[in-house]
């Protein structure tokens, strides 16, 4: 099953997806994706910042039964990452270049610009960041 993803939806998210933007609120809280009101504190007037393109996986799972709305054919990792900013801002993303039989929790990862999905009725292609494990013991989080 594909789904309709209208261009406006892609356009309004493009700055977030292409630049990994987040909102920094006056208190210092950083929220991804950016929003007008801090969901934790109710603060307003955020500054838009770009998150660093590296981080650490804090939770990892592999979707074995792929939903029809995803372009991918095989199992894929979805992980929660703590970015390397001062607030360790979290986000959810897919791994790329990863082995479906490996748990990458604790691994260092770097952002790679990739096609996220194109399975829809409008021919639109969603681009954004996936995350690639930094291979080698030097990159292992201890």
């Amino acid at each position: 099953m594909s789904q309709t993803i209208f261009p406006p939806r892609i356009k309004r998210r493009s700055h977030v997806l292409y630049h990994l933007q987040a909102a920094r609120f006056p208190s210092g809280n950083v929220v991804y994706p950016p929003c007008e009101i801090d969901p934790s504190t109710g603060e307003t007037n955020p500054e838009i910042i770009e998150l660093p393109k590296t981080g650490t996986v804090i939770a990892d799972t592999v979707q074995r039964i792929v939903p029809g709305w995803m372009t991918l054919n095989g199992p894929y990792h979805v992980v929660v990452i703590e970015c390397d900013d001062d607030k360790h801002t979290r986000l959810m993303g897919q791994l790329t270049g990863a082995d479906a039989n490996v748990d990458y929790t604790g691994w260092r990862v770097q952002a790679r610009f990739r096609r996220l999905n194109s399975n829809n009725d409008d021919g639109t292609i969603i681009y954004g960041f996936k995350w690639e494990p930094m291979v080698g013991p030097a990159f292992m989080h201890t």
Binding site: Q63, I65, P67, G68
Partner: protein, 391 residues
């Protein structure tokens, strides 16, 4: 006049892959069973509150309040549809209780419906994903099994929770479902069956997941003086809590915790003037096996990380110290998402008044219990405490 909301009747449509029944039929069957149990007529109902998560995506049908009133043969009554993902029926039930407590109405139907098998498995997965954060999480490939799998991984890492503990939840709830003639699954399963089922999202296997279900359920809510006048057993609604939480899983301080459940249950307990240890029966939202464990910890029944061991030890079995999901839970009874909360409350009505048939009755004959109905990844939670009044 005593305006304490009470439940005097409960009914269910058939639950399962009910290809022959439309959403309209499901509502009608549940309503008829409910009024029969309550000993009233459909035309006695003054208002309808019905939960439905995403009937539009499942069947194309919206305007569910009027649709339900029409299906029940009582068009003209005020009828509202309530949506809180899988907690939709609890949201509807709480609105019905408010109708009673405010004095606006004296006899209200609260229930829920979901017709899930008119779409493919993929279609159902996509519809259910609408309860997650759609623009960012779902487009990363997040499904509900995947989100709960991440919570399970986090729980395992924090407390050493094992696959065996998750399996014990599934085995227990299917065992209870086998005693429930309304359950979608009527047979027990073994640990070997769970462990050999296909992996959906590591570490959750197929038998860790609740099924796709067509079904509806209904409750009749009245003030206590009306309940007393029936001369039949009923339950008093002594505590309620309804809480929301952040939509994004990654924004949670601890991935496997459910702050909304904690808040909702604390509100309900405070209103009831009870502690969780006073509760003698539980119906909790086991949409995935890990959810039962995290909810039992969130409400404080077990210390964090201890619910799995307690399940393995039989503490949450029907004969155990803290019986959980005597109905079979979502795992065994089925999970028509918009209706589940009503069936949880209905099961407690039966258990707390000694009306559960045969071997399904909890042997300790509980008189007070708690239902926890969760939407999304805990982004909506309805907690309800009921006290039985036996005649």
């Amino acid at each position: 006049m005593n305006r304490t909301p009470c439940v005097i009747g409960f009914g269910m449509s058939p639950w399962g892959s009910e290809w022959e029944l439309s959403a309209r039929d499901l509502v009608a069957r549940a309503a008829l069973a409910t009024v029969q149990h309550a000993g009233i007529k459909l035309r006695d109902i003054e208002a309808i509150h019905i939960g439905s998560m995403t009937t539009g995506l499942f069947t194309g049908q919206e305007n569910i309040g009027a649709y339900a009133a029409d299906a029940m043969g009582i068009p003209g009554v005020p009828a509202s549809r309530h949506e809180g993902a899988c907690a939709s029926a609890s949201v509807a039930f709480h609105a019905a209780c408010d109708d009673i407590a405010s004095g606006r109405h004296k006899m209200v139907f609260a229930g829920g419906v979901e017709k899930m098998t008119d779409v493919s498995g993929d279609g159902a997965t996509a519809a259910l994903a609408a309860a997650s954060e759609r623009e960012f999480e779902a487009d990363q490939g997040a499904t509900f099994p995947l989100l709960y799998a991440l919570m399970a991984k986090s729980h395992m890492a924090a407390y050493g929770t094992t696959r065996q503990m998750l399996t014990a939840v599934a085995v227990k709830n299917h065992r209870n479902a086998a005693r429930n003639p309304h359950a979608q699954f009527q047979s027990e399963i073994t640990a070997e069956i769970v462990e050999s089922s296909i992996m959906v999202a590591d570490p959750l296997r197929l038998f860790d997941c609740s099924p796709i279900t067509d079904g509806a359920a209904g409750l009749i809510v009245v003030p206590e003086d009306v309940a007393m006048a029936t001369g039949k057993p009923y339950v008093r609604v002594v505590g309620r809590g309804l809480c929301s939480d952040q939509m994004f899983l990654h924004r949670r301080a601890v991935l496997h915790e459910m702050p909304g459940v904690k808040r909702a249950s604390a509100l309900a307990l405070k209103e009831a003037g009870k502690t969780v240890q006073d509760m003698q029966a539980f119906e909790v939202h086991d949409c995935f096996t890990i959810a039962e464990l995290t909810i039992l910890e969130a409400i404080g029944l077990f210390e964090p990380g201890r619910a799995g061991a307690a399940t393995l030890a039989g503490t949450t079995a029907i004969e155990g110290r803290h019986p959980v999901n005597s109905s079979g839970g979502l795992k065994g009874k089925g999970h028509p998402v918009g209706a589940t909360g009503a069936a949880q409350i209905g099961e407690l009505l039966l258990q707390l008044t000694g009306q559960a048939p045969g071997p399904r009755q909890i042997p300790s004959n509980p008189t007070i219990g708690m239902a926890i109905n969760v939407g999304g990844i805990g982004t909506m939670c309805g907690a309800t405490i009921l006290e039985g009044v036996r005649k």
